[in-house]
């Protein structure tokens, strides 16, 4: 669907050159909700804006549905852009037009007749749940409602792709959830491919099936969301995961574990990360029986990402004559992510 190869963007100014994107490669498939996460200044917005050529790439290739974007004439680009919807952090609605007028705007640009526009606008307003606000002006709406108008507007020309530039970053957590839910519904109902740029791991967790982590103008990690959440390879990804506090041990517990480690003659405090089918198995009781150890659960956390259970368990294993160590090795051998928790 979207294929990005060796994409580079260099800004040249009087004070020198800045590399905003450095050799980006991405493959986004039809129907994906593809998340791009990074800190501010990492280049994620620039990357998104290169997809519809709001930013002109310095070099590299962007293909959408087999069409090379960088080689289009201005006229062809205009036509192509009509098939790429975009929503923005600050909504970017026309203050001079009503909700209805804003949603009709892209249809007017595309040159549809009045009747088609009216029908389409009604349909879209219903989709985003704003039928009763049709005659309101943007200034009379809440942030969430404004973004709904933005979404309706972006969907007006039946796009194949929807680009979301920090679409929920100006919204409160509750509104963010409702907007994300709407996006997910649209993705399922209309099969639109979405590219979502964000700095919030929660957004990724809620709706993205794939994610790319961007750091210092490069993609440092990418893959299925579940994969990144369960086995983050880079420190940047781990730092983002901390924000959704899913596999991090709380500070108070660390103090406790430190004390335990000091007193534990024979035993281990281990952290078990588990995901997927294995969560359904009674592993802990199995270990207790098999190795004759005591297991004391200190901390646990289970979440669902893309419908898959995912969790962390911190367990104190106690046993004599190295049984705790054997239990530890066993857990590792059956394919769990286990590590001895050492607190310094």
């Amino acid at each position: 669907m979207i294929r990005i190869r060796n994409l580079t963007k260099v800004y040249t100014s009087a004070s020198g050159t800045v590399k905003a994107l450095d050799g980006i490669n991405l493959d986004i498939e039809r129907g994906d909700i593809f998340g791009i996460i990074g800190l501010s200044g990492a280049g994620k917005s620039t990357l998104l804006r290169c997809i519809n050529l709001l930013e002109k790439p310095t070099s590299g290739s962007i293909e959408i549905d087999g069409v090379e974007m960088t080689g289009l004439s201005p006229r062809e680009l205009k036509e192509m852009r009509k098939k790429i919807g975009m929503i923005f952090q600050h909504f970017n609605l026309l203050s001079s037009r009503t909700v209805r007028g804003n949603v009709a705007f892209p249809l007017e640009i595309a040159g549809f007749d009045r009747k088609t526009i009216d029908e389409k606008v009604d349909e879209l307003l219903e989709l985003v749940g704003l039928t009763d606000k049709a005659k309101s002006f943007p200034s009379q709406l809440s942030g969430g409602q404004k973004q709904r108008v933005g979404i309706a507007r972006a969907l007006a020309c039946d796009p194949k792709v929807l680009l979301c530039d920090e679409a929920t970053s100006a919204l409160d957590p509750e509104t963010t959830l409702s907007i994300l839910k709407l996006l997910k519904d649209i993705n399922e109902k209309l099969g639109i491919t979405m590219v979502i740029v964000t700095h919030e791991m929660n957004v990724i967790k809620q709706i993205c099936n794939k994610v790319a982590v961007i750091e210092k103008s490069r993609v440092v990690e990418q893959g299925p969301t579940f994969e990144i959440f369960s086995r983050p390879k880079t420190q940047t990804a781990r730092n983002f995961l901390k924000s959704v506090s899913i596999s991090e041990i709380p500070e108070e517990l660390k103090v406790k574990i430190k004390a335990l480690n000091g007193n534990l003659a024979e035993g281990r405090v281990v952290k078990i990360g588990f995901f997927g089918e294995i969560t359904a198995k009674p592993i802990l009781s199995e270990v207790v029986k098999k190795f004759d150890v005591n297991a004391n659960i200190l901390y646990g956390n289970i979440d669902h990402i893309q419908g898959m259970p995912f969790g962390t368990l911190v367990v104190q294993l106690e046993g004599k004559n190295g049984t705790a160590d054997s239990a530890f090795s066993y857990l590792r051998d059956i394919g769990l992510d286990v590590e001895v928790v050492e607190i310094d």
Binding site: E79, M80, R81, K82, H90, N92, S96
Partner: protein, 217 residues
């Protein structure tokens, strides 16, 4: 007394005529000029540095010529354009020429205040530069443009007082010829009073229009 009234009435009509027609002409040429000044600037939708420089310089030159001088300088041009170089209609030419760059700059300033993001959103939808101008820039900037036109109209009331130099008539001319040169203080005071009321009216009317255009924003 009737004589005085007649003088005042005629002069007021002439001023209104000169100002109204000049404002219309100034808008007709000045607003597109402002759009061009804005959109040919660096990083804007019709970036063209050369055109932008040329227009900017011309605007600055015309704006720096004192109006009294401009009145005289334009006499040949006025004669070519309207067939005469004196009279109320003839005065409209220099008044318009003075007001066009003024409206141009004010329009440019108004357009600069339009949120970049909104323009970008339109571009992302595949809008052409012309569509961005007519469907985004001008509608979004309309209240500021209207405020600019109000300022222009008030300025033109002031400028029109100098139209007497080329026999343009109007209130300013009446005040100079009767009030000053013939020591008719009452006429001087009446013209000033009418001008004050006229400026007030333009401002109030302009404010109403701006308020109407920016309701719900």
């Amino acid at each position: 007394m009737t004589e005085t009234l007649k003088l005042l009435f005629n002069a007021t009509t002439e001023t209104v005529y000169m100002v109204a027609v000049s404002v219309l002409i100034a808008c007709f040429f000045g607003i597109p000029l402002g759009v061009l000044l804005y959109s040919t600037d660096k990083g804007k939708i019709l970036q063209n540095s050369l055109l932008n420089k040329i227009m900017g310089t011309l605007v600055n030159i015309f704006r720096s010529i004192p109006f009294v001088i401009l009145l005289i300088m334009l006499i040949p041009f006025t004669r070519w354009l309207v067939g005469k170089s004196i009279g109320t209609t003839a005065a409209i030419v220099p008044l318009s020429v003075a007001a066009i760059p003024f409206v141009g700059r004010l329009t440019e300033t108004a357009l600069r205040e339009v949120d970049r993001g909104v323009i970008e959103a339109a571009q992302a939808m595949g809008a052409s530069p012309f569509q961005v101008i007519t469907k985004v820039l001008i509608p979004e900037a309309l209240p500021s443009i209207a405020a600019g036109i109000t300022i222009t109209a008030i300025n033109l009331v002031g400028y029109s007082a100098m139209a007497g130099v080329i026999g343009g008539g109007g209130l300013g001319d009446l005040a100079v010829r009767y009030g000053y040169q013939r020591f008719m203080l009452d006429i001087m005071l009446y013209t000033v009073a009418i001008l004050v009321v006229m400026v007030q009216l333009i401002q109030v009317l302009g404010d109403l229009v701006v308020k109407y255009l920016s309701k719900n924003r």
